[in-house]
Amino acid sequence: MKKPSLLLEMAARRQTPVLLIVSLWVLFRGHNHPGGGFIGGLLAAGGLGFYSLTYGPKATRRYMRIDPIRLIGIGCLTALGAGLMGWLGGLPFLTGIWTDLPLIGKVGTPLLFDIGVYLTVIGAAVSMLHAFEEA
C-alpha cells in the first residue's frame, strides 16, 4: 500500500490511543450519564478505523493483537455471561446483580454486560471496515 502522508501517520499514532481512552471513559460513565457500551465501542472503532485507514488492515490487526471477528464472539459471550450470573443466583435471566466494592463503589453485572457490548461493537465495526478495505 502507498505510504501515507507524514501528517496522517503522526496523527493516527497519537490519536488512536486517545480515542481508545476516551471510549473507555464513555463506557464507564454510561451507567448514569450519556454513554455506555455501544457508543463507547463506536468511538473506539472510530479510533481503530482511523489507524486502519492510515496503516492498513494488517497493521491494525497487529495493533489490536486480536482478530476483530474473534472479538465479536468474546464480547457476546461476556454479555451472555453477565446475563447468566443473575440466573445462576436463582433470579430470571439478565437480572442485574450488584455488589459494593471498596474504592470503586457499586459494580454489577450491567457493567459487565456493557463491556460485552463494547467489545462486540468494536469487533463488528472494525471487521466491517476491514471487509471494505480489503475488497
Partner: protein
C-alpha cells in the same frame, strides 16, 4: 427460575459465539456446531414436555414483570415449534457436514446457522410484539448473509429479491406495531389483548391495523399475492440453506399470523375469516399450478411450500378448534416433509452430478431403489396418502372445512392435493423412471446424506401412525389458542 424458556435462545447464541472465538471452519467447528444443535433439540424437547404436562409458561428476563418488561411465553404451539426447530437444525446440520458446505466455506456458515435458529426460536417464544419484530430481524439478517454467501450471480439476484421483499415486510410490520401502540399503549401481546377486549374502540379500527400485520406476515409466509419472492430465491443457495429456509422461515410467518389473529385481532372474526379463506384458496391454487410448470426440482418444491402454506391459512381462517388444530399439525407435518424432500433432492442431485433440472436426471429407480423408496415416503405424504402424516393433517383440515360448510375451500383443498401429486409424479417420472443419462455412474450415498432424510421420513410415517395422541395434543393447543384466557393469565397472572 425456569431455564426451559431461555435455553433455546442461549444455546444457539453461545454456540455461534464460541465458533466466532475458536475458529469457524474445520472439524472442530463442525463438532461444536453439532453439540450446539443437539443441545438446542434437547432444550426444545424438554420445553415441550414441561409445557405439555404443566401448562403455559412465561418468564420476564431481567426480573421485569409483564407488561413492563419483555416476556417470553411458551404455550403448546410455541413449545412444539421450538422443539421441531431444534430437530430441523440438527438434521440439516448433519446433512450440511457433507460436501458443499465444507468445500467452499469461507467460515461463516456454522455460526450463522445457529444465529438463524436463535432468531426462529426467539420469534416462537416472544410474548411481546416488538420483541417479535426484533427476532424477525435477527432471523432475517442471518438469512440474508446465508443466502448471499456464495457470491455467484444467481445467488446475488435471489438475495436482492429476498432482501427487498423482507425489508418491505419489516417496514410494514413496524408501522403496524406503531399504530397498535398508539391505540392501546402496550406492546405486550397478552396486555394488548386485555386492553382491546375492555376498550370501546371500533372493531374496524383495530382490524385496520390488523391488516398491516396480515400483509407483513403474509409476505414472510409467502401467501397469495405476495409469494413471488419465494420461488425466485429459494433455489439459489446451497441445498442445506434452502432446506432450512423452507423448513422454518415461512412457518414463522404462519405462526405469527396464528398468534396475532387468535390473540389480538379477534374482534371482527367474520371479516378476517372471509379474507383469510380467499387468500388461503388462491395461495393453494397458485402454488399448486406453479409447481406443475417448473422443471427444476428445487423450484417445484418451492412452489409446494406456497401451496402448503395455503392449507395452514385455511385452518386458521376457519377459526374452529378442528381447523386450528389442523393448521398447527399441518405446519409440523409440512416442516418435516418439506425439509425431507429438499434433502432428498440434494441426494438426487448428488447422483446426477449436481443437476437439479429433471430432464438431466434419470435412472435412479433402477440403480438406487432405496432412494426411490425414500423419495416416495415424503412425496406421498405431501400429497396426502394414508397412512402418512400428510393424509392425517389434510383430513383434519378438510373435515373442519366441511363442518363449517365451507364447501368451496374444501373442494379446492382436495383438488390441490391432486395437483401436488401430479408434480410429484413429474419428478418421479424424470428422475427415477426415465432411462439414466449416458454419463450416469452409480455411486454410494454417503451416510451423512441419507441418515437425516431417513430419520425425517420415518418421523412422517410415525406421525401418521400415532395420529390419535398427536390429534389430542392439537385439540388441546387449539383450545389454548381460541380461548386465550389461559395465555393471558400465564403472562399477566403475577400482577
Amino acid at each position: 427460575m425456569n431455564p426451559h424458556l431461555v435455553l433455546p435462545l442461549i444455546i444457539p447464541l453461545a454456540t455461534a459465539m464460541i465458533l466466532f472465538v475458536t475458529g469457524r471452519r474445520g472439524n472442530r467447528a463442525a463438532v461444536i456446531g453439532l453439540i450446539g444443535f443437539a443441545g438446542l433439540f434437547g432444550a426444545g424437547v424438554s420445553l415441550l414436555i414441561r409445557v405439555a404436562s404443566s401448562g403455559i409458561m412465561a418468564t420476564g428476563p431481567g426480573n421485569w414483570s409483564a407488561p413492563y418488561g419483555i416476556t417470553l411465553v411458551a404455550d403448546n404451539l410455541s413449545a412444539l415449534m421450538v422443539a421441531i426447530t431444534g430437530l430441523m437444525g440438527l438434521m440439516v446440520f448433519i446433512y450440511s457436514l457433507y460436501g458443499e458446505m465444507r468445500g467452499n466455506d469461507d467460515g461463516g456458515f456454522y455460526a450463522l446457522f445457529h444465529v438463524l435458529l436463535m432468531g426462529v426460536c426467539g420469534a416462537f417464544l416472544a410474548g411481546d410484539i416488538f420483541n417479535l419484530y426484533v427476532w424477525f430481524e435477527v432471523m432475517l439478517i442471518a438469512s440474508f448473509v446465508l443466502l448471499a454467501r456464495g457470491r455467484s450471480r444467481l445467488e446475488m439476484i435471489a438475495s436482492v429479491k429476498y432482501v427487498v421483499m423482507n425489508l418491505v415486510s419489516s417496514g410494514i410490520f413496524l408501522i403496524g406495531i406503531g399504530l397498535l401502540y398508539a391505540k392501546v399503549g402496550s406492546l405486550n401481546m397478552a396486555d394488548i389483548a386485555v386492553k382491546l377486549s375492555e376498550s370501546e374502540a371500533d372493531a374496524r379500527l383495530v382490524l385496520s391495523t390488523g391488516m398491516l400485520f396480515l400483509v407483513a406476515f403474509g409476505i414472510k409466509a409467502a401467501v397469495f399475492p405476495l409469494y413471488f419472492w419465494l420461488p425466485s430465491s429459494y433455489h439459489a443457495p446451497p441445498l442445506a440453506v434452502s432446506a432450512i429456509f423452507s423448513a422454518l422461515l415461512t412457518k414463522v410467518g404462519v405462526y405469527s399470523l396464528i398468534r396475532t389473529f387468535t390473540l389480538i385481532f379477534n374482534q371482527d372474526q367474520a371479516f378476517s375469516s372471509r379474507l383469510l379463506l380467499v387468500i388461503a384458496g388462491l395461495t393453494m391454487v397458485m402454488g399448486g399450478l406453479g409447481a406443475i410448470a417448473q422443471t427444476d426440482i428445487r423450484r417445484i418444491l418451492s412452489f409446494h411450500i406456497i401451496s402448503q402454506i395455503g392449507y395452514m391459512i385455511m385452518g386458521l381462517a376457519l377459526m374452529t378448534p378442528l381447523g386450528i388444530a389442523g393448521a398447527m399439525l399441518h405446519m409440523v407435518h409440512n416442516i418435516i416433509v418439506k425439509t425431507n424432500l429438499f434433502l432428498i433432492s440434494g441426494i438426487i442431485a448428488h447422483h446426477g452430478r449436481g443437476a437439479y433440472r429433471i430432464e438431466q436426471l434419470g435412472g435412479l429407480y433402477r440403480h438406487k431403489p432405496l432412494l426411490a423408496l425414500l423419495f416416495l415416503v415424503p412425496a406421498f405424504s405431501l400429497a396426502g396418502f394414508p397412512p402418512l402424516s400428510g393424509f392425517f393433517t389434510k383430513y383434519l383440515l378438510i373435515q373442519a372445512g366441511l363442518e363449517t360448510r365451507s364447501w368451496l375451500i374444501s373442494g379446492i383443498a382436495l383438488a390441490v392435493a391432486m395437483l401436488t401429486l401430479v408434480s410429484m409424479t413429474k419428478i418421479w417420472n424424470h428422475a427415477f423412471w426415465k432411462r439414466a443419462p449416458e454419463t450416469f455412474e452409480p455411486m454410494k450415498t454417503p451416510v451423512r446424506l441419507w441418515l437425516p432424510a431417513a430419520t425425517l421420513a420415518s418421523l412422517s410415517v410415525s406421525i401418521g401412525l400415532a395420529a390419535e395422541p398427536i390429534f389430542e395434543f392439537g385439540r388441546q393447543t387449539a383450545g389454548q389458542l381460541l380461548e386465550p384466557e389461559g395465555y393471558i393469565e400465564a403472562v399477566l397472572g403475577g400482577r
